[in-house]
């Protein structure tokens, strides 16, 4: 009993995997505690709330976070059918401000944040000189000269450092507000109805991938219509301690709508169904945006140089691998690191990056990297699941798309 998630190594004491949600070992959270390092683990402002709700807490990217409350599948289903409330205060919040903030971010990121209208946001990436992905992130244009960049928790420090360096030649300043900003997300078809009475803005005027400064539950908030679940939903960036008021208010008011607190476990299965990549799984420094199927993000058309441009121009036509979505037959789950084979081939040609039993679809899904030219829909593969092989087929992503 209790082998390690991905590798089934007995008695393994998992290290604190700073990246992304390798929740494969979640159930065994108690083994992930490293007591002598406890003081290095941050707690969010909602820590006591999670514990009072009976959450199972796990170390994640340097934080103690709730992986689940009453049950992953129950929370997952609540987000698809009603709403879920997430504490995402581990995420980074980096403000870039100044007359050249737009130009600085155009230089630092692969997208063109300078083209964003005030109040709008987009998904972006920060790459290194060789075109490898340092992180994927969301950029919000809060004002003509003011942006908020939201990186993954595991990469927040690296992103802040890279941005700081890239901003040096511009009239723009960086403020890493990660440790004084909480993030509460409400996601699901009932999110707008639950949230509307408590915010100082008509939510109908907030488009998908927009954000605005307003009030929420009586406290100042940056309210954005963004998320990582494949559902409609909102993210509320508030001062550290204000998260408690937002959390309590929404949890209470949302109960009659079917809102439940949801942990990182459900967040991972929700994003996977929605075909969204996770840094550390699908994305890393050895992967270019083109290989991850996100080449559309890279704006070669923008004026001026940007970090990674030369390498990315070359990488565009020379992908080494391609990310695909897979439907896996049988009841086994293709997990991160499991090998992918062409049918009956002796040697692996790729590997799984994420996989789960899809609660919404009722079958096993996965993402993985396969050889270039072998990524068309219906292409057949086999996944090595322990000593056996399960057949799998390439399917279009996202696996799940919300009803419109």
């Amino acid at each position: 009993m209790f082998g390690q998630g991905c590798t089934t190594v007995r008695h393994a004491v998992p290290t604190l995997e700073s990246s992304a949600l390798h929740l494969c070992a979640h159930a065994f959270s108690y083994r992930r505690y490293v007591p002598e390092h406890r003081h290095l683990v941050h707690q969010t402002a909602l820590d006591a709330r999670h514990r009072a709700l009976g959450a199972r807490m796990i170390p994640f990217a340097g934080w103690e976070m709730p992986v689940q409350y009453r049950g992953l599948v129950e929370e997952h289903n609540a987000v698809r059918s009603a709403a879920g409330l997430f504490d995402l205060s581990h995420m980074g919040e980096i403000f870039v401000t100044g007359p050249h903030a737009a130009a600085a971010l155009d230089y630092a990121l692969v997208t063109a944040p300078g083209k964003l209208a005030v109040g709008r946001a987009h998904y972006s990436m920060i790459c290194d000189d060789s075109g490898g992905i340092i992180d994927d992130l969301i950029v919000y244009r809060l004002g003509g000269e003011r942006y908020m960049v939201v990186p993954n928790a595991s990469n927040a420090a690296a992103v802040a450092a890279a941005l700081q360096e890239r901003l040096a030649r511009f009239d723009a300043t960086l403020d890493d507000a990660s440790m004084r900003t909480s993030l509460v997300a409400i996601q699901g078809p009932r999110a707008a109805a639950i949230l509307q009475p408590f915010v100082g803005v008509d939510l109908k005027t907030i488009k998908y991938y927009s954000g605005t400064q307003t009030t929420a539950c009586g406290v100042p908030a940056i309210l954005a219509r963004t998320g990582y679940t494949g559902e409609d939903g909102f993210e509320l960036f508030v001062a550290w301690d204000d998260a408690v008021r937002v959390w309590d208010t929404l949890l209470l008011a949302g109960a009659e709508h079917g809102l439940v607190p949801a942990g990182l476990g459900a967040r991972d299965t929700l994003r996977l169904e929605a075909g969204m990549p996770l840094y550390g799984n699908e994305l890393d420094r050895n992967t270019t945006p083109f290989e991850a199927g996100l080449g559309r993000l890279v704006s070669f058309a923008k004026s001026g140089d940007f970090v990674g441009r030369t390498a990315l121009e070359r990488a565009k036509d020379h992908p080494r691998k391609t990310l695909v979505g897979l439907k896996v037959d049988g009841r086994g789950i293709a997990r991160m690191g499991y090998p992918l084979y062409l049918p009956a081939a002796p040697d692996a040609c790729g590997s799984i990056t994420s996989g789960t039993a899809s609660p919404t679809l009722g079958f096993a899904i996965a993402m993985g990297y396969v050889p270039v030219g072998r990524s068309t829909v219906d292409e057949a593969y086999e996944v090595g699941i322990r000593s056996q092989r399960a057949s799998a087929q390439v399917v279009p992503m996202p696996f799940y798309k919300r009803p419109t």
Binding site: M1, F2, G3, G5, C6, T8, R10, L23, C24, A25, H26, A27, F28, S29, Y30, Y33, R56, M57, V67, Q68, G71, L72, V73, G265, D268, T269, R331, G332, I333, R335, T356, A357, P359, R386
Partner: protein
């Protein structure tokens, strides 16, 4: 946390219910709770030899895969066919309908190496959460 007094326990969170030469094996309530939503259970065929401390199967949950370790050595004489179809039985009733396999023990002396309920309760109490 339910820890029945009449069972023997391994440090790997399996329970053993000896009855003469044979014994039923399952996972404990603590294990079931920590594994979460179980997707399926992979069990050996009847007639397979299992060895104390070695893997005899796997439990797949949405977010984890856990190996099952035999608390004693022997030959599998029965498997719980119901959990193959209804894996959630393992979570719902780990000591009852969620049992996993029954073995004909080759060395019942191995039972002495297992914990009684008090010993297992101490083990669980020593684990975080």
């Amino acid at each position: 946390m339910e820890i029945p007094e009449n069972l023997k326990y391994s440090s790997e969170h399996e329970w053993l219910a000896p009855a003469g030469r044979t014994a039923k094996i399952g996972i404990t309530g603590y294990a079931a709770e920590h594994i979460g939503d179980i997707v399926f259970v992979e069990l050996p065929k009847v007639g397979t030899t299992v060895i104390a401390g070695s893997s005899f199967g796997v439990i797949e949950a949405v977010k984890s895969v856990s190996e099952l370790f035999a608390p004693v050595s022997g030959t599998v004489v029965a498997i719980n066919e119901r959990v193959a179809k209804e894996p959630e039985l393992v979570s719902a009733d780990p000591y009852g309908d969620g049992w996993l396999i029954e073995v004909d023990m080759s060395n019942d002396g191995e039972i002495a190496a297992l914990k009684d309920s008090a010993g297992y309760r101490d083990l669980v109490a020593s684990l975080p959460e």
